[in-house]
Subunit: 132 residues, 2 copies
Amino acid sequence: MTRCPDLTNAELRVMKALWELDAASVSDVRAELSKRGQDLAYTTVMTLLGRLATKGAAQVDKTREPFIYRPAHRRESVLRDRLRAFVAEVFDGRADSLVLGLVEDATLSRDQLKAIERRIADAEKPKRGAKR
Amino acid sequence: MTRCPDLTNAELRVMKALWELDAASVSDVRAELSKRGQDLAYTTVMTLLGRLATKGAAQVDKTREPFIYRPAHRRESVLRDRLRAFVAEVFDGRADSLVLGLVEDATLSRDQLKAIERRIADAEKPKRGAKR
DNA sequence: CCCATCCAACTACACCTGTAGTAGTTCTAC
DNA sequence: GTAGAACTACTACAGGTGTAGTTGGATGGG
């Protein structure tokens, strides 16, 4: 599995639109971005998609015009990579203090935290049988 | 309370050294960074400290040479701001899915998660009496 | 057929970032 | 008091980033 390349913020925004659309032309992406309050020139979107393609973050189908772009990596992988880098860079790898910060900041409520825990517990149980 | 300005990664690394030292000259910071595996030219550290001062992230005492720099904001505030921006930017504000990502990634263990929860519960209890 | 439209390729460009060099000033140890 | 060290101010500069313009081909309506 090819590693997900690093994306800039602008590129990530475009990727989010792409994930939403799954397979789209420049215009489609542009419209989706506009829907999200990001109004960019057509050529700007093209530039970004081009960069994404160069980086291998998106695949382009050039057999027909307009070109169709689609994401080359799952959303979760990319976000996870970003997250990992962020934890390392900003929190020196201490994920727990990051989470603590979230809660103190009230960005994350205790309830949400509990919900997460429950979700994890649920996910873990089935694995018990088919473990490895 | 003046808002903490945005810092680049290099600047943040310098700030971390500054927080550790609390009040320090360029040389001091440089030594601290070196201790952390960051070997930068003296002038590079100076440039970074200068930028931090310009941004208002550090205060400089110029009454005596060498100048003494100290952090203008608490570590927690700055990290929290960064975190907040990150959650908004990358996870569209969904902190819970961020945490979930951490756990799935095994960056955060279930035990750590529980420990955090316990810590929060503890912190919340005393507040009950002196509430609001 | 010709003009407008859509689209891709290439080009542009200002600002940011990370890293550092040079010049000039003061302090300090002979 | 002079040479070198320490230190600051200014300058530099390549590469990244966000945003967009220009050029030219294809296409479709009149």
